[in-house]
């Protein structure tokens, strides 16, 4: 059934269709609608889940981890400061190998207070062991949320589904809501082999001395390494049932592109319009959408990007003291390849400043015009 809904509600529908069993969340703009609709689902019985309305995001994440270890499907959603408050427990979720799924509505970090979008909140959690998937449309939000559970449960790793504040979260557009029966077929009941249960009176996550800790960390990394294949197979299976696929990255009109623009989140969507326009103008430009941020799809990135002469990366974030995070990741992926194209890092749209087609056009145009980047990062739209 197609329906006009917001990105936030797409998240809620995704969690509902996935038959989430325990939800725990704390309100924060711009995430609130996610939990409001889920509360309604729970109240009406449309979703048979326990919703723990906690007193902080830290507790929300803890509740999900704890419930998850009893072998149930858990979900939460947050933004910015909420995510930052969760930080400790994000490590815990991954360390405890819990398949918690969380939506993070990308919002800039204070101070000054900002409710508007940028990616610094989620990218700050890069090293916690979470899988991160960035979305560009409400349909993708819903589809990714459903897939996230399957990916998480196959790998025993937590998954973060990420969407832009307002640009997706509060924007309504048509979304194809899949049939419950088909979702059920795609996502069977969750079974956790070793769970908190009386039949296994074990201690979970106790003191682990240097003799043992190292190996456990190694296993988390191994799971991340398996993730690329797992995400691909989950995606294929999803495509078979629902007719939509996303991949870990998407190359759009890249085949003969001299310049490839790398984007994530909703900028991708707007960039598609720009790419089409420039292609019509005969400019050889392509677009690479990086949906999967962690684990890094290094091979896939290399395969697409290596063919280009130049790469322009749009970062709606800044890793202070260095550069945009996506640009770092792209550079690191290409490192060691002889003749790797130069990477232009454009910082744009921080704190929700609108990113227009004109701005994207200008970025691509600038990349065409410049042989090598003159500066490590190129700020766009900043008033100095």
């Amino acid at each position: 059934m197609k329906k006009v809904i917001t990105g936030n509600h797409a998240v809620s529908y995704g969690a509902q269709l996935a038959r989430t069993q325990v939800i725990s969340a704390y309100p924060i703009t711009p995430q609130t609608q996610v939990v409001e609709l889920l509360s309604e689902f729970c109240a009406s019985g449309k979703l048979k889940a326990k919703f723990i309305k906690v007193e902080s995001e830290h507790s929300a994440m803890t509740a999900c981890i704890a419930a998850s270890l009893t072998g149930v499907r858990t979900f939460t959603a947050t933004s910015a400061h909420g995510l930052a408050l969760m930080h400790e427990m994000l490590h815990w979720a991954a360390g405890a190998r819990t398949p918690v799924v969380m939506a993070n509505i990308n919002r800039a970090m204070g101070p000054g207070w900002s409710v508007w979008t940028d990616q610094n909140d989620s990218l700050s959690q890069r090293d916690t062991g979470w899988i991160q998937l960035y979305c560009e449309s409400n349909q993708e939000v819903l589809d990714t949320t459903i897939q996230a559970f399957k990916i998480a449960e196959k790998l025993l790793l937590p998954v973060m589904v990420i969407l832009d504040a307002f640009v997706l979260s509060h924007t309504s557009e048509q979304v194809d809501l899949p049939e419950q029966s088909v979702v059920d077929q795609f996502l069977p009941r969750f079974e956790l082999k070793t769970k908190l249960d009386l039949s296994h009176p074990s201690a979970y996550g106790g003191l682990t001395n240097p003799d043992h800790y190292f190996e456990i960390r190694y296993k988390i990394q191994k799971a991340h390494e398996q993730a690329l294949a797992v995400i691909k197979s989950v995606n294929d299976e999803f495509n078979e049932l629902f007719g939509r696929k996303y991949g870990v990255i998407e190359a759009y009109r890249c085949d003969d592109a001299k310049v490839i623009l790398v984007t994530s989140g909703t900028i991708t969507s707007t960039a598609r319009v720009v790419i089409d326009t420039m292609r019509e103008q005969g400019r050889k430009v392509g677009l690479l959408k990086q949906k999967l941020f962690r684990p890094t799809p290094t091979e896939q990135l290399r395969e697409v990007l290596f063919k280009a002469q130049k790469i322009a990366v749009i970062d709606r974030n800044i890793s202070f003291g260095h550069s945009g995070v996506f640009a770092q990741e792209i550079k690191s992926s290409l490192y060691g390849l002889a003749g790797a194209p130069p990477v232009f890092d454009y910082i744009i749209g921080l704190g929700g400043r609108d990113v227009t087609p004109d701005a994207i056009y200008e970025i691509i145009d600038n990349t065409f015009k410049t042989d090598v980047p003159n500066e490590p990062i190129i700020w766009r739209g900043v008033r100095l």
Binding site: K2, V4, T29, V115, W116, E136, D164, A165, F166, V167, L168, H170, T171, S172, E173, Q174, T266, I267, S269, T270, R272, V273, G352, D354, V355, T356, P357
Partner: protein, 182 residues
């Protein structure tokens, strides 16, 4: 692609109006996208909502800078907000007003007025000092623009306005009849 901008005040229902209109257009097979002005909404403060529709998927994710039509839910806003900014020549301006504005700033555009406030008060929609005019204004816009069928607007109201449903539908219908093209 057509773009519409709604001007209103927090609490008047501008955002809901854009969503109802989007759902009506969606029912007619259009691709739609609607969103409020991003930020923190407060009752009484000026707000905007945006709507895009097209026959093909909408990819643009930036704000609407050059709308095709303008819908103004509160006539006083014309004094404080440059409501015609970016409006394409020949576009509709629908004003919630009892009087034809004595101004030539609308000369390049098509203008229509509707006493949506009067209708809202009649049907006791919203509080006396803060009537909710969104359903009335949609009836008027449907009539003048011909972009959506009244039935689909009413379907949208059924989905998005759960309280005082009959009154809201009646307000829409009244406005549909009463709207005056200047």
């Amino acid at each position: 692609m057509t773009e519409i901008r709604f001007h209103g005040r927090g609490g008047q229902g501008a955002v809901i109006a854009s969503e109802i209109l989007a759902s009506a257009l969606f029912a007619e097979g259009k691709f739609v996208q609607t969103f409020p002005e991003f930020g923190v909404e407060r009752r009484g403060a000026p707000v905007q909502a945006f709507l895009r529709f097209d026959t093909k998927p909408i990819l643009l994710r930036c704000k609407v800078y050059t709308p095709d039509h303008i819908i103004v839910l509160d006539p006083v806003l014309t004094k404080t907000v440059n409501i015609t900014q970016g409006l394409k020549p020949g576009g509709w301006i629908l004003l919630n007003s009892t009087q034809v504005p004595n101004s030539n700033q609308f000369s390049k555009f098509r203008l229509a007025i509707i006493d949506a406030t009067g209708i809202a008060i009649k049907y006791r929609l919203g509080a006396k000092t803060a009537p909710i005019v969104n359903t009335a204004i949609l009836g008027a816009f449907t009539k003048i623009s011909g972009l959506a069928h009244l039935d689909h607007i009413i379907d949208g109201i059924k989905e998005y306005v759960p309280v005082k449903l009959q009154e809201n539908i009646q307000a829409t219908k009244d406005a549909y009849e009463m709207v005056r093209q200047i």
